[in-house]
Amino acid sequence: MQVFKTMFKVMRSRLPSAMIYIIIFLAISAFVTSQSTKDNKFEMNRLKVCVFDEDDTPESRALTKFIGKHNDIVEIDNNRNTITDSLYYKTVNYALIINKGYAERLAAGETAELFGSYHMDESYSVVYMSKMLDEYTGSVKAYLAMGKSLEEAVSATEAAMSQETEVEMFRVDKGGDSHFSVDFAQYFQFMPYILVSVIISIVSLVLVTMNKKDIRYRTNCSCLKNSKYTFQLFFGSFLFVLFIWLIFMVAGTVFNKEMYTGRAWLAVLNSFIFSMVVAALAVFIASFEPKDNILNLITQVLGLGMSFLCGVFVPMEILSDGVLSAARFLPAYWYVRANRMISEEDAFSSEGVMKCMLIECLFIVVLVLMTILVRRLRYSSASIGSAVKKAAA
């Protein structure tokens, strides 16, 4: 098993950079999954609102307090640049000014232009907050018209607006999937990026190194059978991929706080198949014998490209249809599709998941066939002959 041993020696030299990838990925996953909530209960979105109270009366303070019930009140400097930056980076969703004279004018039943708001764009938050404010002032006005005092009107409005409607979560009876929550599915969803980055950068590099002219010639003139050589090469790569995949699976049980159960095993199988796709891809790339810097570029382009195109980084529903139909030609698309079905983000059907996995397997077959083809063309006696002629010239 000399070839096998050598491979691992070469791999060891590249391991530190791979470990950096893996550790960063696991750290981020630990952070993401620790924040996940397993219950499927509806909660209101809390906006980050900052209030500049120029009126400073009991009524305006009551309004601020009321807004704070359903939202988070954030304090920032009353400075145009700070406000602009905060609104742009969404550290604040809505910047409200309660104009001077708010209480007086409200008492008089006026509702026009009681407030000002710093306006960045017509976002959901802006529409939501301005509707809320209109509703608040409109209700106060109505209660005033019924002959209540301002104080009574405000408290009656607050009481009326605090009535909550029950919201049903769709499919809550099926419970999403109790074995594989949507939040945990995120961990699996980001996996393609890291698998591609680590596996291609290491496996391809090792294969390219083993295939360097001097080393190949030396191996060729040894008494080692060619088939044995190839077998050891593949076996080594396979073991490495298996090792990387196992690290992620073990880490997964840690993040999930329990062993995989039920449908989660499907996700495990799915990720295993995808790792094999990536391994086949790595072998395919290696057969072109790219230089070190070119290999780095290919790794980055494939990793980032597949992740951006196939909905790894950005959810699929946000991508345009054109991008998605192009992404069908990439294996990560089917991986993500299957993962979404398993976590019930899309409707689950076992045939659907099977279909996605089968297509991934098809990618493996195609990649292997293409690798054989490329190797035939590159290492056939004819091409070696021409290479020798070139070298001689």
């Binding site: 742009y88 969404k90 009681l114 710093y118 306006h119 019924m146 607006m161 980032l304």
Partner: protein, 377 residues
């Protein structure tokens, strides 16, 4: 002599494959991916558009239907209503065609699939309707004589209580800042070209360095010529990058695009001088220097929000001074200010910061590398 060295520096640079790959091809590829991924995020998730909703009428509710018709016929409708039966509505919700199902019986009910702002808005819409019903009931009970008036004033769309104070004419899409950071990344990668300058003048690190050191040309002239060459190369990379983003990917930089170019070029020059400084500091091997520079510039880009968009906003809250000195953040902020601000104060401040950082790095680099002699290599 200056021109002679400059010419060979340029030739040398153009033939460095790494430079072309990481400063030209990679940004173009990454920019394309950003465009694919983030191009429509803003319009689909942040910018308000009517919320699609399915309404299931379990019992006749003409009042509610009237309200919905009123909303839909408004100039900027709040809801996009589809009437359906329960099964059809659930199908629509499951496929994501609608955000929620409102069932109208004696009481309104709401069914949603996920938590989010548009679902919250649907909830508050349903509550709003219930609230108006309650107020109307209260009015009829407490002051029946005025009830009609109150109800009609509730139902008629009142004037907005809120006046919006516009902050900017620019492009409010926060995802654009990924492109700003991409340009900042190219600028920071300029440190690789800057490092090459020092490699070529340190005799223990390259054959070229050894040759340069025993030539009679004064060191000041040699280094200046090499630096000028790097600046020119970097400028070309920056021009290419901005042009590609602005004209091929059609990224909206606001209405002051011509000013984006000088800011990007100055950023690139700053990147080169950063590499020149780090390269001069020590006589470590090329690999170590590359690793140090790459990780330093990636870290700075990360902190400026290249990978996680809202990181810069968070830093701006916690430690605003850091954004003022982080070179990557200064570059990307200069584009941001150009887009968002109405005046040029902040933009010019950023440009001055870049210039100061550049001058400091170059001066330090010169001071460190002067009078270095090699007795033997």
């Amino acid at each position: 002599m200056f021109l002679h060295i400059l010419k060979y520096e340029l030739k040398n640079g153009v033939r460095t494959k790494d430079l072309i790959i990481w400063l030209m091809v990679f940004p173009i590829v990454l920019g394309t991916f950003f465009k694919i991924a983030f191009g429509s995020v803003y319009n689909k998730t942040e910018k308000f558009s009517a919320i699609p909703v399915a309404v299931v009428e379990e019992t006749e509710n003409p009042a509610f239907r009237q309200v919905l018709d009123g909303i839909e016929s408004a100039d900027e409708p709040f809801l996009k209503v589809t009437y359906a039966d329960r099964a059809k509505a659930e199908e629509l919700l499951d496929s994501g065609d609608v955000e929620g199902i409102i069932s109208s019986a004696d009481k309104l009910g709401l069914t949603v699939k996920q938590k989010g702002l548009s679902q919250t808005m649907l909830k508050s819409f349903v509550e709003q309707y219930t609230l108006r019903e309650k107020i109307a009931m209260d009015a009829i009970q407490t002051s029946p004589e005025k009830a009609q008036e109150i109800i009609s004033s509730l139902m008629s769309g009142t004037v907005s209580s809120c006046r919006e104070i516009p902050l900017t004419q620019g492009n409010p899409d926060m995802y654009i800042q990924y492109f700003y950071n991409l340009i900042a990344m190219v600028a920071m990668f300029g440190c690789m070209t800057g490092m090459h300058v020092t490699m070529q003048n340190q005799a223990n690190l390259s054959a070229l360095g050894a040759r340069n050191n025993c030539s009679p040309a004064p060191k000041l002239v040699t280094i200046l010529a090499c630096l000028t060459g790097s600046f020119i190369l970097q400028t070309v990379c920056m021009l290419l990058c901005v042009t590609f983003l602005a004209f091929v990917l059609k990224v909206d930089f606001g209405d002051r695009l011509p000013l984006v170019y000088p800011a990007a070029i100055l950023g690139g020059i700053m990147g080169v001088s950063f590499g020149f400084f780090v390269g001069s500091v020590s006589h470590m091997s090329q690999k170590t220097k590359t690793a140090v520079l790459m990780s330093a510039s990636m870290l700075l880009c990360f902190l400026s929000g290249l990978m996680v968009g809202d990181l810069k906003g968070t830093i701006a809250q916690k430690a605003p001074w850091f954004n003022d000195i982080n070179p990557a953040a200064v570059v990307s902020d200069s584009f941001y200010c150009l887009n968002i601000d109405e005046d040029y104060t902040r933009f010019i401040t950023k440009l001055i910061t870049m210039a100061v950082i550049t001058v400091v790095f170059i001066m330090l680099g010169f001071i460190i590398s002067r009078r270095k002699k090699y007795a033997s290599v």
